[in-house]
Amino acid sequence: MSEKVLSPDLGFVKDVMKSGGESLKKCYQCATCSVVCNVTPEDNPFPRKEMIQAQWGLKDQLFGNPDIWLCHQCSDCTAYCPRGAKPGEVLNAIRKLSIRKYSKPGFLAAMAGDPRFLIFLLAVPIVILLAILGSLGHLSNIPRGENGEIVYARWMPVPFIDMTFGAAAAFAVLVFVFGIVSYWKDLVRNVDTRRINPSNEIGLGLGAAIKDIFAHRKFQNCNETKARGTSHMFVFYAFIGLAITTTWAIFYLYGHEFLGIQKFAIFNFGESPYPLSDPMKWLANISAIALIVGILMVISNRIKNKEKLGGGSYYDWLLILVIAGIALTGLLSELFRLGNMAGVAYPTYFTHLVLIFFLFAYAPFSKMAHMVYRGTAMVFGKITGRA
């Protein structure tokens, strides 16, 4: 076997320890973690090797490997670790640093992972949205509906939202594309392409990975956190539901405006708000409730398992609380609107918009990025036989 030249990096070790992996150095390499892990492939299993690579600060070996993302943090390893080294938490911290490496600009990822910058990150959507409202004169004068009812779209016209959020989403997608490409290159560099060239097999890998993801198959292998499969599934499908609703609403608005489609049957083409009898509304409300249920389950599981499996870092909780906030403010906005409680309705809706912007714009830098990088790793893993 040829010699591997190691470049130990103390800075990286400290970064892992600061990012939620403070137990990293306790590992004494007994490999209990790799034995109890039900997700790892048998050949060269994780997370034992990741633990020592991280102890030595060998970041290139960690990043250019799908394994840190193939881990679903069941935390079986953490539960059985005889030394309290919490491999699950450590790998989570490494993933955070991996996001920082691949999602450029890196400073945004650094800010997303650091509570000191939270206020700045929140300030961006707040300033943008206030600027829009201010320029429309809607800060002092809130236009109502024909019958004096609350119509959010009159206060914050949808095209403004779409422009702003569309731009944020486009930025996120761009960052993701660059991130995926750069990650993929690193992954491919570490395989023998004479044997298999992963780049030629993407279609195959993608199909298999999507099947796994939709069925949440990997989660089912977890022992300690089996319940997480359910909660994640709630959140996952709620997001899909909400994505459909959003597209649906765009279709209603612009279909009416540009294509002249009129209301028919139960389909209410035109401006929001839409009546509760509309099927889009059914899906939206079901998804919102699913999201609330799911995210509450996430929170309760995490609190319940805190002692045994690790409490998670700021990075984890930020995403959880943003999602919880979005779901809660979304549902409350609707209820306050229906109840015509203007005093609380507008601030709630404003908060809702801020949080959605936060989620969209910072997705590549927050833990939200896991869907993309883990997805990429799973595709790669399917091709190379590790997932």
């Binding site: 070790v13 320890m17 150095k25 306790k26 090797k49 690579q53 102890q55 030595w56």
Partner: protein, 742 residues
Amino acid sequence: MEKKYAVYVCKGCGIAESVDADKVIAAASSHTKVPKDKFKSHDILCGPEGVAMIKADMAGEGVNAITIAACSWRTKSDEFNFPGCVVSRANIRELVAWSQPPQTEETQALAADYLIMGIVRTQKAELPEPGILPDLNDTIMVIGGGVTGLTAALEAAKAGYDVALVEKEAELGGWAAKLYKEAPGQYPYEKLNEPTVFAKIKEAEANPKIKIFKSTSVEKTDGQPGLYDVTLASNGNTEQIKAGSIVLAAGWKPYDATKLSHLGYGLANVVTNVEFEEIAKKGKITRADGKPARKVAFIQCAGSRDAEHLPYCSHFCCSTSLKQARYVREANGDAMAMIFYKDIRTPGQTELFYKNMQNDPGVMLTKAEVKGVAEEGGKLFVHATDTLLGSAIKVEADMVVLATGIVPATAPFQTWWDGMTEAGKKGDAERNKFTEENPRPDGILNLGYKQGPEVPSLEGGFGFVDSNFLCFQYETRRTGIYAAGCVRQPMTINEAAEDATGAAMKAIQVLDHIAKGQAVHPRAWDLTYPDPMMTRCTSCKRCTEECPFGAIDEDAKGTPFYKINRCRRCGTCMGACPERIVSFKDYNVDMIGSMIKSMEVPEEGLRVICLACENDAYPALDTVGVRKKLKLNPAVRFIPVRCLGSTNLVWVADAFSRGVDGLLLLGCKFGEDYQCHFIKGSELASYRFSKVQETLDRLQLEAERCQMMQVGIDDYSKLPDIIEAFVKKIEDDLGPNPFKGF
């Protein structure tokens, strides 16, 4: 002393249920010609009434030679302690009542034989008179002024003894004084300690009972415990001192790193752990060019656990490297210490220090087989395979520290001595050639003993002093000289201090015992001593050769004479002597021979004699009885011996000429992991009996009739089967002794 005999048979503890005491008494009386009225039995002999009965006989009838048939002699020694009387014990509880079927003819005969042998023992034994030599000195000489020596000196002085502390170097403190810091020795094993040895130096220098000799070596040690005449040499001058006992704390030397060129020694910035202490002591961890060392690689087991170099583990190098990793980290927060180990060995609570160091982000650890350290483009690289990092690796380092192990101070001479002995086996020419080619290294004790000038090391023991690390630490094969610290085995500073305390205690104990004429370990109570009838000595020197403790020297004419305070009373000389002239008051060739000859050998059926070592085999036999479920073959008669080394070959003749069908010897394990309490006894017995088998062959007696086996005290569960197999082999393969009935 005119003996007035009395024999007591106990019926308690199940003996009465097993045998008929009256019949046993009748048999013994008719066989030994001791009148029946001298026999008494009692239900609970060890109880107050039983003991009172014996004492009444002593007072009333002047009884002074007592035989007690009851439990094993290993129990109830306080109850059956009758000062001024010869007391023998016949074990009819463990070896009869508890390990034989009750009320059978064989059991009855067995009990009778044990009682007969007990009576013979009483007849042949005399009261011991302690042999106390005049003008005993009770100064304790401590050789070595390091942590071990200083601690031993302080402990002995605190106990009230005068100490002569001899240090070869100009300053006290040894290696411990050369350290920058010490690895932590107390909970929570977190902080490094300032070197502790300086406080000890101060304390020793201030203690009026400790006389310190610096830059001094021992030129000659003559005499024996209590009577050592030591010649000290210092800068060309010599001085005579007297000492009573000696603590050997000569310490160690680091392994010669010039032999480790494959690990880069000789290159710039490749240093040993000892050299690294000197670098750290200067205050900065810097390279040869003065630049700070940011990446320091520690290579564990450098030249240790390696067949080419030191095959053993030096025990403290892992904590030392962890400690030195702390130096690196404390000197520079951005510096990394990379430790490549075979496996981390931090014994005991030092594990906590390992854990603490492991938690430091800048301490990187991996198991590795380090293949080499080499320079490439002006940079140092460590090459290793079999790492936890998954492949062969190459890591750059600013500095490489080789964790070298220790060589005991006793090793150079021992190696030379062994080489010379080996060459000597091929003749004087070879020996002379060896001594010409290999200059004699300096000795440490330079003993004027027939058996050689230093304390022996165990064969295959790498030059460490032979001192059974489990059962009898500190004891060496030279009575009165106790080894402590790294001459015994590699150890840490704390362990060395503890070891020194133990050795000081032994050095005190020997002074106390010789003043009373008592032996030391393992027969610390014994007042007897070997008393040879020198008029019959042929100066064959077997005793001087075989004594495991070098207790017998020779005078100018080559006649052996005992340095009695060196003797441990094992009786190896008694076993060795072809003239059978060595006797103890209560243990001698005639006594055991008479016991063998006294027992009934039946015309029909087998009779086997087993000589069992008192230290391991006999206790194991007792345990067979105590367990009660195990049974011993009733054809076997067990006789305890002080050590298998004391078995004289004449007993073989005694046994087989009486028609005994087999002779079994149970002794301790010998060899590298020996358990013999007298170190060489069972090995010597084995050697002796390998010769007797030739004799048996000539007598046309099958060699298999006489067999020696090694058993441990924990082998009790196997013993019945071992004995059964031996008896069965004689029964099936050999048949009865053809001399039976002659």
